[in-house]
Amino acid sequence: MSMTALFGKDSGTVRAQQNRELLLLTGFLVVIWAVTTVLSPRFLSPANLSDILLQAAPLGFVVIGQMIVIIVRGLDLSVASIMATVAVLSIGLNDNTVVIFAVGILLGALIGGINGYLVAYRGVTPFLATLATMIVLQGVRFAYTGGAPGGTLPETFRWLATGDLFGIPVALMLLAIVAFAAHWLLEYTVYGRRLKLYGDNPEAAYMTGAPTRLLVVSAFMISGVLAGLAGLVLVGYVGIVDNWTGRGYELDSIAAAVIGGAALSGGKGSVPGVLLATLVLVSLFNIVVILGLSIELQLVIKGSLILLAAAVYMRRSRR
């Protein structure tokens, strides 16, 4: 067994490839922004740009979690269901912002832990484990609310999701903190290296003495916590608690992670990449609205983009 097999790909090559992908995504973002600005000058207005960023924030949390799960060869279909369930339950239980966030984080960790347990200890395919959790959570929150969610949204919530501190949107600051933490974890710690090694080669990770099962559980827990946070931020942005909060985020987050360079076969993914991809996706949705195109076109564009991005990366990563 070569060193490469044991320790993953040569980190220099990986980094160079990641940089090319980042450049490609940035170029793409610049092109679509430029084209849209020519077509509609309203696009580059500060109000619209801050709208894009605020909409990107909740999805950004989910995408980072989704990417970490994908790195360990997983997939989390339950993120949207976690978002809604955490929002409905924690806001229904209390109206103190701190308590709500504490309960939300704990709840997200618990649900993620269950996903991880099913995958790592019971050998259930991630797809099915998280599909089942998704359905169970759906039942739980509808049963809890009887179909109509209650609880009042504290004022601080609106501020967290749409307000700003020293001119910088609070939701973006939260996302930045999470993003830096996740980036540091992935790139500069033993834990991050082990996550990627496990995704590259589970047997090799096991042989280095890494607690592989706990690694997988922890990845799902991170995804659960970030989804819970995203649910709370999104509820603050929208202004109401809804049983279907976050609907569609499971597929959007997978799309953004893949477009951002995470490989479904595991072992690959970077925070800057998936955040750029998130921005691309949200920009595209915004462009459709700004240009006054039919909303349905969003779906066509999104689907085509997913296929295109996947095709570009597949061609490159073929050995």
Binding site: R122, V124, L128, A255, G303, L307
Partner: protein, 314 residues
Amino acid sequence: MDDVIRMTRTQPVHLVVLALIGLVVLVGMYSSDRFATPLNFANVQDQMVALALVALAQTIVILSGGIDLSYAGALGLLTVVFASIAGEDPASFAAAIAIVLSLGVFIGAINGSIVTFVGIHPLIVTLGTSTILSGLALLITRQPTGSVPLFFEDLVYGRIGMIPYGTIFTLMLYLLAGFLLWKTRLGLRIYAIGDNEQAASISGVPVKSTKLIVYALSGLLAAVTAIYICGRFGVGDPRAGVGFDLKSITPVIVGGTLLAGGRGGVLGTLLAVIVLALLANVLNFMNVSSFYQWIAEGLIIIAAVSIFVGRKSK
């Protein structure tokens, strides 16, 4: 190969699912007098035909080691196209059937081509095409639209005794699929690819064309489902497919087909569809809200999968 064929026919899974059917029927009879009536059984069958058809398509794809999440968008587009073309006269009805069946095969072939020739994971491919297809369906119409001829509705609602024609049709398709999977070379190839694609390729199985056929078949069955749905509801609805992507997977897995491919068969899927339909029916009789039915469904998936899979892993 003997092993493959044995796994296809009878498995302990089938007995477990049969026992579950018995249990659900007993609970149903205990909970309501109206449960064990011909009318109710016919009703359950009507509820289950569409799911049974999509699950059959999904079984074939999963056996080959793939997955097809495009039904959500595909069913929407196919029903809209069908109901907009099928007028009152037999000629346009026949044209609508021909067009929708070809469109289904075309959609499947596109999925299959991207999966085989570009090499993208089928999950991502079909997720992408599903999104595009539902966008197209909604571009055509946002509301349910079109109509189907009366004689077709009569056919879909027709019954022999307590057996709807839809059930007979579905059973015939399952038999046909069973024959295809167990008795033909194509079927053997599907199992071989699902079991181990590289080994199959080395031993001379034409992997690419087989995969292409699998996805085209899946699209064809999606078109058949769409036509049936139009017959039942009388209109084409761009949202007709919502939920069918994930719903189609549950019976396949509960019926004992491995998500990794190569193991399982259509009999298990059919039995699982029956269990799920009966369960929903009984829970309705017991006045259990759909909220708790969701919880039950999720727990059943977890139980089914972790029991079967847990036993296999070392």
